[in-house]
Symmetry: C2
Subunit: 413 residues, 2 copies
């Protein structure tokens, strides 16, 4: 393979049909956001949109904006926009609460539909909050419900008729490994198990086909690839066929079929709205909606294509420039198995993370030794990838991490 | 009593020691916010603060702002600020989720501390979401837990040793009636019952003494008297003595004692932080914190004193100007029993609400016939009260509501 040069990368940018999308973002000089899978960058239009929400809608419109500015309907409206990114139909997605709370709602809803079955199943190493929410339910159930967490390789054999619900994350938060949603969902259904997919690292990054895979429930996160801002509200998908019968455990007034009747008795909305609970946070909702609206300029398919090209370039450059420094690829090498980030393990991982941060690489570290580099094709250029790898190389050559580590230790002791 | 004139009201404003607080708010011309108990007005500094959070913290700081800008600690930090408004100690209040979700967390926590008891008790006519959350828990419990909702007058006699938890709202959302938190809590404790107080219409409006009354749990709302913005995050109070043993049913990763260890096993934080669940919404949090910070310029005691004076003036003026038009006071007449709004019932209530809205009175209507006027002493002037009553009088004299009602009916049919 010929050597990859800076000029080669710049040329890839020139030919990139999505290059213009970058102009929609505020990107501070001297920093490269390789952590858009943790917190997506700020869309320029979000600044303006938030000023409008604050000044015109809250300041001038006051309480009336719940109807006149569409605040009340926003969980449904923004949900519909997200639905189009994940292969769901209109009326199947609601924006509400946090991902963790939506996991809880989905677990209880699935259990309510699968009466008599006791087991909630997931895998070790799943994102912790998924496992923790299962533990909370089990510990409040007086032994009625069982939290079962098995080795990832054992999931298929654990799909038995005692299992009520299977909770898995489609894209692993450390390695970016993509699970086979279609096959696993099908095998679970064969045993009557309902399936919840956590799409936190999928939505806006890879093509997701919820309806096509006949998924029962899904949840996901607004602040990663959707660029919804810090702690953006999360979303929940409930297949149409389940909406009328699934229990909404968090049966708050906003999920009532007529919230402003103020009756003593809860009558759930017959549709996705029953999975609303309390009053939606409008500032976060507005920022999320604006982030999601950027997808109208392109498609997840086109973004995914560019993301793969960026990831390839990153891995090739890491081999070319940093092959001698002891990095081990922790993500799948096959494109179809790797989603929106590339992870390497390195025994000096934390020090390298700190040292590259000083040089403007905004990335992420996950214990014990994982360096995580987010690939966000909306605003990353091929030349950014080149620059990042050169910074890593420089850190490795000068062993800059040693000094950083030293400082950290000095500060602690 | 001599006639109350506009000049008299203007003079009250001149003598008002809190008059300057109004300058902290953006108040649109031609409108008077008599619904600050539903959505508090926009503090001017919140506009600026949000721009800073968006541009500097999210835009420039990106993921690093979780530590450098204090995002991660914000639920505890803002919680401590709210604690000082409700008679709680540092480390007893957390800002998280919605009021409804916090009610759920508090109910499950109380039940976990009172093992063997089955009943969740509340009163008819309580704010619906309080009752609905109890119903959700009961319906998921396989008959293990019982949702009991009795007449308000029967609460004390229903305090038996079968009751696990009593859930009441301190200030009624329709009538503003204040319940006797001290006596009721004491009587419940005598039977071993844990008590949750919903402070949604109390916080920032009346003096609350949670610790002094030995309250077990409380929840409340950020978008009313705290001026935290539309759908601001809510808060939860857990008495120190319960924090270590109370179950956190929504056991998300943010409530783990070491969230970034990413372990498979949930180990709850030993303190108030265990009642965190998912990632906090930072835009809403920042707006809430800014609203709460305005209280540092004054005290709840001083605000309460002015609120009573404003309410008195409103009721006196309603008698003087609108005595002949068939309004019935739906709030207690005694100051110590009436909190931050004044409610009237009127058979043409909805039409009057609509007609006065056209004249710039931002108020509220609650079925079937309640007109609710919020008294927010931070930004309401005595002359505003005068103006509002004059508008109501004009509507009544011209029967303007008839025309409005007619239009509504015409639009429907």
């Amino acid at each position: 393979m010929p050597k990859i040069t800076k000029a080669y990368c710049q040329n890839l940018d020139k030919k990139d049909p999505l290059a213009h999308l970058r102009n929609s973002f505020y990107l501070p000089k001297g920093k490269i956001n390789m952590d858009g899978n943790s917190l997506g960058s700020l869309p320029k239009s979000t600044k303006k949109r938030l000023q409008e929400v604050v000044q015109k809608e809250w300041g001038d419109g006051m309480i009336g904006s719940w109807s006149s500015a569409g605040w009340f309907e926003s969980p449904i409206r923004v949900g519909n926009k997200i639905a189009s990114l994940i292969g769901a139909a209109e009326g199947e997605v609601i924006v509400a609460d946090t991902t963790s709370v939506n996991i809880y709602k989905a677990l209880c809803a699935a259990i309510s539909l699968n009466e008599g079955r006791k087991i909630m199943l997931s895998e070790k190493g799943n994102f912790p909050t998924d496992l923790y929410m299962m533990q909370g339910i089990a510990s409040f159930s007086n032994g009625e419900l069982i939290n079962k967490v098995v080795e990832p390789t054992a999931i298929l054999e654990e799909l038995t008729e005692e299992v009520a619900v299977l909770l898995l994350t489609q894209v692993h938060y450390k390695t970016a490994t993509i699970k086979d949603m279609r096959t696993i969902t099908k095998k679970a259904h064969e045993k009557g198990i309902l399936v919840i997919w956590d799409l936190s690292h999928s939505v806006g990054s890879i093509e997701v086909a919820l309806n096509d895979c006949q998924v029962d429930f899904a949840v996901g996160c607004g602040y990663k690839f959707l660029n919804g801002g810090p702690g953006a509200p999360a979303f929940m998908y409930v297949a149409k066929r389940h909406q009328k019968n699934a229990l909404s455990i968090l049966s708050g007034w906003m999920g009532h079929q007529d919230p402003f009747a103020f009756t003593d008795e809860y009558t759930p909305s017959p549709d996705i709205a029953r999975f609303r609970c309390g009053t939606p946070g409008i500032l976060g909702m507005a920022a999320l909606e604006n982030g999601v609206d950027l997808f109208a300029q392109t498609s997840v398919k086109a973004l995914r294509k560019k993301a793969i090209a960026l990831s390839h370039l990153f891995m090739d450059l890491m081999e070319q420039e940093c092959g001698e420094f002891g990095f081990t690829l922790a993500s799948p090498i096959a494109d179809e198995k790797r989603a929106g980030h590339v992870a390497y393990s390195h025994e000096e991982g934390h020090g390298i993370y700190q040292a590259t941060k000083k040089e403007g690489v905004v990335s992420d570290f996950r214990t014990p030794d994982i360096l995580r580099f987010g690939i966000t094709p909306m605003y990353l250029r091929f030349q950014d990838i080149y620059k990042v790898v050169r910074i890593i190389k420089n850190v490795m050559e000068t062993k800059a991490w040693d000094r950083v580590e030293y400082k950290i230790r000095a500060a602690i002791t």
